[in-house]
Amino acid sequence: MRETSHFVHKYLRSSKRFPHIWCAGCGIGIFMQALIRVIDRLGYSKDAVVMVSGIGCSSRLPVYVDFNTLHATHGRALTFATGVKLANPDLKVITIMGDGDAVSIGGNHLIHAARRNVEIASFIVNNHVYGMTGGQSSPTTAYGTKTTSAPYGNLEAAFDISGLVEAAGAAFVGRTTVYHTPLMERLVEKSLTKKGFSMVEVLAQCVTYSGRWLGLNSPVEMMAWQRDNSVTVEKAQDLTPDELAGKIVIGVLADRERPSYEDEYAKLTAEKLKV
């Protein structure tokens, strides 16, 4: 018998085939491990966790884990999650989305979920590309980047996902890269334990598509790029806008107390049931 076993096995579906489908060195798996590690640390019952995803490489995550899992439609994970949470507020509802998923086709749901503040811990795996469909531009693809749908270079400006969600009113917003694993785990934990809507933007390498455009040819180069181009929120405060240009600001970007929709609604229900 083996003396060691990886803790994730407690959460992986034994009936699923491993290794998983993601390409060698894809950042999604690194995020997945952090998420499971934090859930393990927090001691949630597997029965109480509902993991909802959209469609995309990132959204393939839930099928591997032994929770209540809901692989919804492209862009709409938050809508399904909202229904689950309001129908049974005792459940711990988590959503996993890609950048195209959450910000392009699902952009409207994202800002309204942040505004509405239903307690959902959401994670957006931002690899700056449509991975699953083969490397087309996403709303976070940098201006000028050549993609399979922008063969002459991307003509559009990119979204700042965290800025968008913060402006829309989310109770908690954080950004990390998968290189910064300890920070990623801290942010995941804060998000999971936050009252109200939270969002963590997880910058992750798509080795097969976006790496190539940046001239980065391996997962190692891409993670080194994450390391070398990130600054913490704390350090960023001392930098001029010029110094910050092109940098990824990582850490807690917003953390505030706001009444959640369920709490407000529960008050209303209690009043009505009294009458």
Binding site: N68, A72, R76, L78, L86, L268
Partner: protein, 385 residues
């Protein structure tokens, strides 16, 4: 004490169709509603907003109809009977998720109070133009149940039945009302809650280790646990094996598709819902549904007064198409007339099942105005054999 007794006795109330729909839904046990305002269905959302909190259920106005339908499926998977209501443009937006509910077998009710289309169309005017969309609006082969009320009471009653069927078959059920039925007011006597028979989705009776989330227990309808019940499973819109995991295996895909169809098609006997009037000796029969059935009723009465042997069959189930019922009518009548406020969605089906022994006449109107009893009567008189 006195007050309570009064409440218990069913008394006549004046209700709008859309209000009656909400009353039916809440009596059926609907405890989650998500919607987005749209004429002529808005009252359903408004009355739900007012009445749902008092039941302990949840109401939410979503950012659009795609979101409403997503939330409805999410709530259903969490174990709660759930519903949304909309009209044409919103119904179009819901289509992807209606297919999802078919595939993932999330019971839910979708109310479409039809207005004239295409596109923004005639928001305040009636139509029956969504009959084919209700059948085939979402992509891919699928089965669907569609009910159609023609009065305020029927809107109430069929809403309850829509929930019952959705729970029985674990499938989305569409309630196709129209602007007239949604907005008109009628006095109705509502039954008391204890007199209403309710169906609930089958629940697993075995421990989680033995439960097969998408297996066929014989009825074609797998027992459905709620998220949080301890039966952790995977739900997806992809074709899936009996455990719910994505598959492309031909045998597994075929078994899934067969089951999804047969769970409803094996039960067609129980889905022949119609009312017939003066049909015993009728040589000519009007086949109608929704608001047009009301005009049809009036026309048939007037025709009878003139001595014409005509009858009316009012359809309550539109899909799956009631082939059995319709062929019986086609066999016993020399002619049938199918008046519709569309270009002929149901008459096309009637012609399809007609074995040539009956003349199938149509009367179609797509100008946003209702078909009148006079128009139907005129056609009956002209074509009377």
């Amino acid at each position: 004490m006195k007050k309570e007794r009064q409440e218990e006795r069913p008394s006549q109330v004046l209700l709008q169709g859309n209000e009656a729909c909400v009353k039916g839904a809440l009596l059926a046990g609907c405890r989650f509603y998500a919607g987005y305002p749209i004429t002529p269905a808005t009252e359903v959302t408004e009355v739900m907003a007012k009445d749902m909190p008092g039941t302990g259920g949840a109401f939410i106005q979503m950012e659009d109809e795609i979101a409403s339908m997503g939330a409805v499926i999410g709530a259903s998977l969490a174990g709660v009977k759930s519903m949304t209501a909309t009209s044409g443009p919103g119904f179009s937006l819901m289509q992807e998720h209606i297919g999802y509910a078919c595939m993932a077998e999330g019971p839910c009710v979708i109310v479409d109070v039809m207005r004239a289309g295409p596109s923004t169309g005639l928001p305040t005017q009636p139509s029956q133009g969504d009959v084919m969309q209700a059948r085939w609006g979402t992509h891919g082969d699928h089965s669907i149940v569609v009910l159609c009320p023609s009065s305020v009471y029927e809107f109430f009653d069929l809403t309850i039945q829509a929930f019952n069927l959705s729970e029985r078959y674990r499938t989305p059920v569409i309630l196709l009302a129209d602007e007239i039925v949604g907005h008109m007011r009628e006095g109705v006597v509502l039954p008391s809650a204890k007199d209403i028979e309710l169906e609930n989705r089958p629940r697993p009776t075995v421990p989680p280790e033995w439960h097969i989330p998408y297996g066929d227990p014989g009825t074609g309808v797998p027992p459905m646990p709620a998220f949080g019940d301890g039966y952790r499973y995977h739900v997806t819109g992809l074709h899936h094996d009996v455990r719910g995991y994505p598959t492309t295996r031909k045998d597994e895909v075929e078994a899934l598709m067969r089951r999804l169809f047969s769970k409803i098609s094996n039960d067609l006997d129980r889905l022949q819902w119609f009312d017939s009037y003066y049909t015993e000796d009728a040589v000519m029969t009007v086949i109608a549904y929704g608001c047009v059935a009301r005009a049809g009723m009036q026309a048939v009465r007037e025709a009878r007064a003139k001595g014409l042997k005509v009858g009316l069959v009012k359809l309550q189930v539109l899909w799956p198409f009631m082939r059995r019922t319709i062929t019986t009518i086609l066999d016993s009548s020399e002619k049938v007339l199918v008046p519709e406020m569309n270009v002929g969605h149901i008459s096309r089906e009637v012609k399809r099942v007609n074995r040539g022994n009956c003349d199938v006449l149509t009367l179609n109107k797509i100008d946003g105005t209702p078909i009148t009893p006079g128009e139907i009567l005129e056609t009956l008189e002209e074509a009377y054999p």
